[in-house]
């Protein structure tokens, strides 16, 4: 339990919250770690908040329900308002500063890392890769996985009809990874 990393990923529907979780989970399989993920389900609407919690551990993961995440990626302001208080104090939180005013995050007891992810993604030509830029920053910040595992995970997450999306996502990841 104590050496478990519980990662909260939140944003609005369409920002690739679930996809980022998918990539992360496949990367964990590649790295031989145990992983278990719960996405919010049910009465969700397009443009509403989407949330997933991913637990990673070298040991068996028992409870799929976690009290507090100890690492987070937050993609938009409403998600920050909603979920910041549920994260364990002093945990690293990667926030998308293109959509979250960093002056509002100053008061918190979290280890905030601002990333201008949406604007960087637009410059790369695909706004949708903001999530993977954030993932790159998170992996660099925490070292929980080797980049190679993430690339292997991406190859599985972008399989079949989505294979063409692999390269831009690899570049997005490297962009994030090299930011800090």
């Amino acid at each position: 339990m104590d050496n478990e990393t519980s990662i909260l990923i939140a944003g609005f529907g369409g920002q690739g919250v679930i996809l980022a979780g998918n990539v992360l989970a496949y990367a964990c399989i590649d790295a031989g770690k145990n992983v278990c993920a719960m996405a919010s389900y049910g009465a969700e609407v397009r443009g509403g908040t989407a949330k997933g919690v991913i637990s990673i551990s070298d040991n068996e993961i028992d409870s799929p329900i976690i009290e507090q995440a100890n690492l987070a990626i937050i993609m938009n302001a409403p998600s920050y308002m909603k979920y910041a208080k549920t994260i364990r104090p002093n945990s690293p939180v990667i926030v998308n500063s293109s959509m979250i005013d960093l002056s509002k995050t100053k008061k918190s007891d979290l280890d905030i890392v601002g990333v201008d992810a949406t604007n960087l993604a637009i410059k790369m030509g695909n706004i949708k890769v903001a999530n993977i830029i954030m993932l790159g920053v998170m992996i660099k910040k925490t070292g929980i996985l080797e980049p190679q595992s993430v690339f292997n995970g991406m190859k599985r997450a972008f399989s079949k009809g989505k294979r063409g999306l692999y390269y831009i996502n690899e570049i997005a990841f490297r962009t994030g990874y090299d930011l800090i």
């Binding site: 339990m1 989970a25 389900y41 028992d62 409870s63 799929p64 329900i65 976690i66």
Partner: protein, 368 residues
């Protein structure tokens, strides 16, 4: 999240939701027909099967209602094929009339219930409040359904295949009682090839397959003549249920040697409880867990054995309901554990415990 079949190996770990794993297992076990109607939190099963069954040239049909779906199951089963339906609590209630008929006609089928909060339309949160419904028959008349309770995505996959086997072997409906947490959970698991549980299955010589060259078969549930016809059917079923109780009681124990407190929990609750138990074990506290994997037949003999080797220990039943399995625990242990030593922690309505809540509850009990 979608299946990923990028490699050809049978034991590669894939990532799926519990609900999707149920669907893949059904296909692997030779399910020919699937009939259902969408409802949260089980809709990933029909969503997954809509795609996969077409690929495999099998029959997927989204019925106009739950009632229609269960009667299609009745028909397909009478025709001798492996068939499945799935739903969540309010939808399963709608299916109970058909389920009673299927049980009365001694037909096999698999029914998946991803339980949500009730009564009524309730809510869409995970719950375990359909325990009575699953284990006591659910519809009218004296009948039982084999009820399996997975607590991981791997078990969603394995138990669905086993449910088909058990149902065919004993000619009773089999239920997978899941809940919104395990159904929605994404975990890596192994897509194992289907291995039948039994070497030989009884031939389906009762099936309606066209009677050219033989006497017509009749599948029915109405017994008016002779007057004791229905009694005979009930005697036969009763004998069968006792045989199932003798042969299919599945459970698992964790740290149940010289425990001061034994938790009894199933499904997602057992996983949440295990986190709390491990924390207590690390602090030197002797807490164990008994987890039924079959809710019916209830593993009473196994629980009695554990209670006997832990004389004087307390029992704590944890459920996402106001106490349903609790009654089975009390009945099993009535001669060996004082009723006041069987404690309960739980609530219905979509409430779910957390490791912290269970940890606190255990501390409270151990202090007394």
């Amino acid at each position: 999240m979608a299946a990923n079949n990028s490699t050809g190996s049978d034991t590669v770990k894939v990532l799926m939701k519990g609900n999707e794993a149920v669907g893949e297992a059904a296909i692997k076990a030779g399910c020919i027909c699937y009939f259902a109607y969408p409802i949260t939190p089980q809709t990933e099963t029909p969503e997954y099967l809509a795609k996969r069954m077409e690929e495999e040239n099998l029959i997927f049909l989204q019925a106009e209602s739950e009632l229609a779906a269960i009667n299609m199951v009745y028909g397909a089963s009478a025709a001798g094929v492996r068939v499945m339906t799935s739903s969540s609590s309010p939808g399963i209630s709608l299916k109970q009339e058909g389920l009673s008929y299927i049980a009365g006609a001694e037909l096999p089928c698999v029914i998946v219930n991803v339980v949500r909060g009730g009564p009524g339309l309730g809510n869409i949160e995970a719950s375990q409040a359909d325990y009575f419904q699953s284990t006591r028959g659910g519809g009218h008349g004296d009948y039982r359904c084999i009820t399996l309770a997975p607590n991981s995505v791997q078990e969603c996959y394995d138990m669905t295949m086993q449910a088909f086997d058990l149902s065919d072997y004993y000619r009773v409906p089999a239920i997978i009682q899941n809940d919104g947490i395990i159904g929605q959970l994404v975990e890596p698991f192994e897509i194992r090839p289907y291995k039948p549980m039994f070497e030989k299955f009884p031939p389906k010589d009762w099936a309606l397959t066209g009677c050219a060259g033989r006497k017509p078969n009749v599948v029915r549930t109405l017994y008016l003549n002779p007057p004791d016809g229905l009694e005979q059917l009930n005697r036969k079923l009763d004998k069968r249920y006792k045989k199932i109780h003798d042969e299919v009681r599945w459970s698992e124990e964790f740290n149940c040697d010289s425990a001061d407190l034994i938790i009894v929990a199933y499904g997602s609750t057992s996983r949440i409880a295990k986190s709390a138990i491990k924390r207590h074990n690390q602090n030197g506290k002797k807490v164990g867990m008994f987890r039924p994997k079959t809710l019916w037949p209830w593993p009473d003999v196994e629980l009695v054995k554990i209670a006997q080797k832990n004389k004087g220990s307390k029992i704590l039943v944890i459920e996402m309901s106001t106490g349903q399995m609790l009654e089975d625990v009390q009945l099993s242990l009535m001669d060996i554990v004082p009723k006041t030593d069987i404690l309960f922690y739980g609530m219905g309505g979509g409430w779910n415990p957390t490791p912290d809540l269970i940890y606190e509850k255990i501390s409270e009990i151990l202090k007394k």
